[in-house]
Symmetry: C2
Subunit: 257 residues, 2 copies
């Protein structure tokens, strides 16, 4: 797998992809590094950032999708405010999106993240879990993109070195936890119906990424398209009334004959 | 095919689907009618509207996708402006989205639309063609969703009866023109590569509908999800660097060995 070191980087508006890797056409896997020199932000501030981002969409419908990223941003102090401090902050988004639930897998995945959080602050896990549930919300479906994980942004009110250790801990623990799940599920036999259901759920994944998330803003304001769209699954599917018809019939009893 | 009569309808915010039909899982085809009583708009005005919308995504990769809709909106005069006229306007969006170009098909499709326009005003076709090219623009890819057609909105500065005839003419001519193309292409043999290319182009279709168009606003503000998402293709595909790699190499010569 990719390394998880944080690399100081730059240019939030250009999103230059300096490294990418896709081992299999049916698996979207990529890592972003931004080792370019710092550029000026829209506020006239010199801005650097580092993002480690990975998205895996397995072929097997019973193996879950993983999205994981760690972000570090840093700006110079404004020139017109002498003595003002540099601004910096950490961000993280990690969520597991299965098409089928195996409770033991989700418990395993969440407990690994809780352990990583608890090493630094017992308030982290419950707070960041709730942030995750809130963030990956598909309003038009009144559901989450998946089963969640942890999410935080603008985290700068702790010691910087402590947060770097925390970010490193998150990065180091999440991939092995995920790999364990994939190893267990990747050879499970599946039918066309399992695959079709996975594809429908990936339609929701596409909806979240294109309608919510940061994608719409970035796509509209510029940037290298492939860097943004690479988080989408290889393929997705939409079927009219697939779930609605059943739910509607259960909620509103009908005369069937 | 569905009838093309305009039906006075209501409630832009609820988008109740009163009629839908999908003859085949691989073909998204639907017609919206809104025969509900008028409701009050956000401005406190009583608002009625009618939409006839059809989207067809054929299975065969050499048969193009069609999107077509005609819209009529009407509001009561504001109560606090005595003597103010009712507001009303027509809208139309028609565009052809092939995965492979057959010039004769596009010429046929466009000439049918030009004929419909020219019956009413010689300025219509060039104006509405340009509006279409401008509207179905995918900014992040710097390309159009397809090959265009005609598009107009807020059209109310002509005689109302004339515009109703024009809308009816558009509706009556576009479907037979499209059917002629599909009849000609639907049995063309195709390979997996043709299908994969169609699926990639449908990825762009999904991007336009979810990032641009009216979908993002409607999805975020409420409404029945299926009515909005039904215009998406049955399935779509994304591959990292599929086109970019070739274009980039052509624009920026590389050392290959």
């Amino acid at each position: 797998m990719a390394s998880h070191s944080l690399t100081l980087t730059s240019s939030p508006s250009s999103f230059n992809l300096c490294s990418s890797h896709r081992p299999h056409l049916s698996t979207n896997f990529f890592t972003l590094h931004f080792p370019c020199p710092g550029k000026r932000s829209g506020l006239g501030l010199r801005c650097s950032f580092s993002i480690e981002k990975e998205v895996l969409h397995p072929k097997n419908p019973v193996a879950p999708t993983l999205h994981f990223n760690i972000r570090y941003f840093e700006t110079d102090a404004p020139k017109d405010v002498p003595g003002a401090p540099r601004q910096w902050w950490f961000g993280n988004g990690t969520d597991l999106t299965p098409a089928y639930i195996f409770e033991e897998d989700v418990k395993h995945f969440d407990s690994i993240q809780k352990q990583a959080c608890d090493k630094f602050d017992p308030s982290f896990y419950p707070r960041f879990k709730k942030c995750c549930d809130d963030y990956f919300y598909i309003k038009h479906g009144d559901e989450r993109r998946g089963l969640g994980g942890i999410f935080f942004d603008d985290l700068n009110y702790y010691d910087q070195e402590m947060l770097l250790s925390f970010a490193t801990e998150c990065a180091s623990s999440v991939i092995p936890a995920y790999i364990l799940i994939v190893e267990k599920r990747k050879d499970t036999p599946f039918t066309e119906q399992h695959k079709a259901w996975q594809q429908l759920r990936r339609g929701r994944y596409v909806e979240f990424n294109l309608v919510y998330d940061h994608c719409p803003q970035i796509l509209k304001t510029g940037g290298r398209i492939e860097n943004i769209l690479v988080s989408l699954p290889l393929s997705a599917r939409w079927e009219y009334d697939h779930e609605w018809k059943l739910l509607d019939a259960c909620i509103n009893p009908k005369e069937w004959i």
